[in-house]
Amino acid sequence: MNPIALLPWQSVAALLAAIVALAGLPILPDGMAPASTALVFLLVLTGALVPLLRLPTATESFVLFAAAHGPVYLLLSGITGHEGQAGLAFFALVAASWLIAWRLVTVLSLARPTSRPMGTLLRLVVPTLFGVWLLLLWEAIVRGAGIPFILLPPPSLIGVRIANSLPILAADVQQTIFKSVFAGYFMGCAAGFSVAILADRFVFLRRGLMPIGNMVSALPIIGVAPIMVMWFGFDWPSKAAVVVIMTFFPMLVNTVAGLTAAGSMERDLMRTYAAGYWQTLWKLRLPAAAPFIFNALKINSTLALIGAIVAEFFGTPVVGMGFRISTEVGRMNVDMVWAEIAVAALAGSIFYGVLALIERAVTFWHPSVRGG
């Protein structure tokens, strides 16, 4: 049987890419020793052909890992300092190692973990590899194609900038996240929740408020940012105000929806006990509403960050993530801009992740949590 037919498509594509690279040699006009060039090809071929050996999953993954990351490491260290000189061969080889990495991820996704910690590890490793490759490809393209760093800096420079600017970043995080976002988030969610309870208590209020609330949550509320700055001044209160307004309605709408989530039978049960409003609320309807409330908390976590940062475009003290982003663009320090963005994404992910963990703990009983 034709051995090519036995290969997964990623390997076949990687081989094709290697052939293209051979045609486009040299990898770089200067700056890449013949030995490293040979090593790159050797690793790529190994990675592409290893599936033929039908090795055990662990061994195969290990080989694939080396065969994907070795070449890309060599290529990236070769291109550094020779930005913009990359030819076809460079990109073809990057593509080949990326395909091998894809093969690796496929192998890992299909792997049947033998133990629990092993399974958790796999669940973390697979997406991590994906993210790492996003950065590697970015680095390779920016350096390889010689894109001016003031348009798009490579991740490595962003990393260096983060490492060198920790105090500034910390001050910005302190200003934007710990002051504006947290204050606004807690006030907005608390207010939305309280009004939801009120609306639940008083039918008239609910009937009047809900159509309005549903509508308002679709509006481009972020547009009030300049007005809030005008009203509440430059410092964090105006940002918090934007966040309050942005988070209020999703919380209101979700909580009210959640409060109707308890089944009618469960509610009738409470009636047969002649339970009061607050007893029913506390023992039945709030627990049943928890998944909805957490949904709102999660949506709001991303809204809050966006709101605070955009509001900082319209006037701030000289600290804060939004301030930094907009001024550093003006100063051509694009690496600093990306450093702030990376920090914002990290902070946002942590915020979200923590909420997701709390949600799992609190709504442990919900089928969506139990099942997964």
Binding site: G263, M265, E266, D268, L269, M270, R271, T272, Y273, A274, A275, Q279, K283, L284, P287, A290, T363, F364, W365, H366, P367, R370
Partner: protein, 256 residues
């Protein structure tokens, strides 16, 4: 215990009025075991819900223990077992059974004691710390019965409690329910779709028919109070079952 006179209940729906109960007269004495049987939509659930003050009749009169249903509900005069177990998934079995006790403000020590007792009663000793979804359907249903028993009301309203269970488990629970009834001398109103179940359990069988929902027959059982499972193969049993089946047939057409 329960007395209904000319009871009417009409639901106003989008497609016009639905006569869920029409001119229902019924007397249920203390300590009786009454089964309600009839095709879907004949108002069995509605009647139970009227007793429980979950639905307001639009005509006629009903008293529960000599009071209005609302008064009876306020006094927590009955336990209600729904068709599905309706346990709260975020509470353990123990906590679920304790729920009515919490609401009635019973002391923690007393709660513990009663929960233990009722869980023993339904053969769920040792499962108190589990969550509902960790139990089989039959066990969940027993937990929900335990919850209705926990506060020791004299009247037990059960709406197809065993509908979702398989025949064998059902037989077993039927036996236990009879035993419990005999021991505690509660009044039980029991909705079912199964003729053998109705005949096996009841002292009185109420046959209903739909459109409008009304009582077409009330059959008093002649079976002894002591009923082993194989009484169901006795001629007397079959005769009553036959009468129930005939009553059901008379009340409805087969086209659905």
């Amino acid at each position: 215990m329960i007395s209904a006179k000319g009871l009417d209940l009409t639901f106003q729906t989008g497609d016009g009025p639905v006569h869920a109960l029409s001119n229902v007269d019924l007397e249920i004495g203390k300590g009786e075991f009454v089964s309600f049987i009839g095709p879907s939509g004949c108002g069995k659930t509605t009647f139970l819900r009227v007793i429980a003050d979950l639905e307001q009749p639009t005509g006629g009169a009903i008293t529960v223990n000599g009071m209005s249903p609302q008064e009876a509900r306020r006094r927590r005069a009955y336990g209600y077992v729904f068709q599905a177990a309706a346990l709260y998934p975020w509470r353990t079995i123990e906590k679920n059974v304790a729920l009515p006790l919490e609401i009635m403000g019973i002391s923690a020590a007393e709660q513990r004691e009663r929960v233990k007792r009722t869980l023993d009663l339904v053969n769920l000793t040792g499962f108190g710390k589990k969550f509902p979804w960790q139990l089989s359907g039959g066990m969940q249903q027993r937990a929900s019965i335990a919850r209705a028993l926990a506060f020791d009301a004299d009247l037990l309203l059960m709406d197809e409690p065993f509908g979702a269970l398989d025949e064998i488990v059902r037989d077993h629970l039927n036996e236990q329910l009879l035993e419990l009834w005999a021991r505690t001398n509660k009044t039980i109103c029991f909705v079912t779709h199964s003729i053998p179940e109705a005949v096996y359990l009841s002292t009185k069988i109420v046959v209903m028919s739909p459109r409008p929902g009304r009582v077409t027959d009330v059959i008093n059982s002649t079976l002894p109070k002591e009923r082993p499972l194989d009484i169901r193969e006795s001629t007397e049993f079959l005769a009553i079952a036959h009468r129930v089946r005939e009553g059901l047939r008379a009340g409805q057409s087969y086209e659905d």
